[in-house]
């Protein structure tokens, strides 16, 4: 377990830099996480991120791209536009959640 300093405070992260503590995240931090990986957050990004946060709170798991479409209602194609190349990992990183564990 490591910590890193973000938004002026210590944050717990795993070896790759994904947050490990759900409650250490807030929206100001998300903006900084997004900035670090070159994603500029628009209202559409925020909708996806808020869905991921709420879904994790409910299920205890990070939603896969499939679930973000099927349950969240955000088409996969749009996810690729918002979080280019690796949407599953990028959106979970910004949402302060672990990488999705599901295969699909």
């Amino acid at each position: 377990m490591s910590t890193t300093t973000l938004a002026g405070r210590e944050i717990h992260v795993d070896a790759e830099g994904f947050l490990t503590e759900y409650d250490e995240w807030d929206e100001a931090l998300a903006a900084q996480l997004a900035d670090q990986i070159g994603v500029e957050l628009t209202p559409e990004h925020w909708d996806v991120i808020r869905f991921l946060r709420a879904d994790f709170a409910e299920t205890g798991q990070t939603a896969t791209t499939r679930r973000v479409q099927a349950v969240g209602g955000f088409p996969v194609k749009q996810q690729f536009v918002l979080f280019p190349k690796k949407p599953g990992k990028k959106m979970s990183y910004i949402a302060g959640l672990p990488k999705p564990a599901g295969c699909v």
């Binding site: 377990m1 490591s2 910590t3 890193t4 300093t5 973000l6 210590e10 717990h12 992260v13 070896a15 790759e16 830099g17 994904f18 670090q36 990986i37 070159g38 896969t64 791209t65 499939r66 679930r67 479409q69 099927a70 088409p75 996969v76 194609k77 690729f80 280019p84 190349k85 690796k86 949407p87 599953g88 990992k89 990028k90 990183y93 599901g102 295969c103 699909v104």
Partner: protein, 175 residues
């Protein structure tokens, strides 16, 4: 023990231009054998890897409009098949009428329970993620099928020689 480090940012590989490419040859029309290709294609696309899927022989059923929702799973010849109540499926039982229907129904339910889409919807998602679908010329000719019979997002019916161009420099898997 926690240690403080200045900043850890995941490497999403955006700066390194990858030309990694995956080609999947889907040759089977059984429900259970359709999924390995679908799952791998979807995973690769989600990692920023280009994917082409080439459908040949029985794999054609995955992209044929009136067959892609009707793929079946048969226990016949599958010596590894388990029974839901435990133990192996007796081989003499598997060819009995209705067994394929039951096995297919069960497998579809298991797939659905995991939130994994049916074959046609899975291909929709793969295409939406940037995957490309191709059909084999010889299989089309053998089965008397044309582009009309295939999903609208199949890009073409191509020859074995075309496939060589398609798969140049790619990691290729035959399923």
């Amino acid at each position: 023990m926690t240690e403080t480090q200045p900043r850890i940012v995941p490497d999403f590989g955006d700066d390194t231009d990858t030309d990694r490419k995956l080609v999947l040859i889907c040759s089977k029309g059984n429900l259970d054998m359709a999924y390995p290709g679908l799952v791998l294609a979807n995973a690769a696309l989600g990692e920023g890897i280009a994917v082409d899927m080439f459908f040949t022989f029985w794999g054609f059923d995955m992209i044929t409009k009136d067959r892609q929702q009707r793929l079946r799973f048969s226990p016949v010849g599958n010596t590894a098949m388990h029974l839901p109540v435990g133990g192996r499926m007796p081989q003499w039982l598997s060819p009995f009428p209705g067994m394929t229907w039951v096995a297919t129904k069960m497998m579809k339910k298991q797939i659905d329970d995991l939130g994994v889409p049916p074959v046609d919807e899975f291909l929709d998602q793969i295409v939406a993620s940037g995957g490309r679908l191709w059909a084999c010329k010889m299989s089309a000719d053998m089965q008397g099928l044309t582009m009309e019979d295939l999903r609208d997002d199949v890009e073409g019916i191509i020859t074995a020689a075309d496939f060589m161009d398609l798969s140049e420099g790619a990691q290729t898997l035959f399923i």
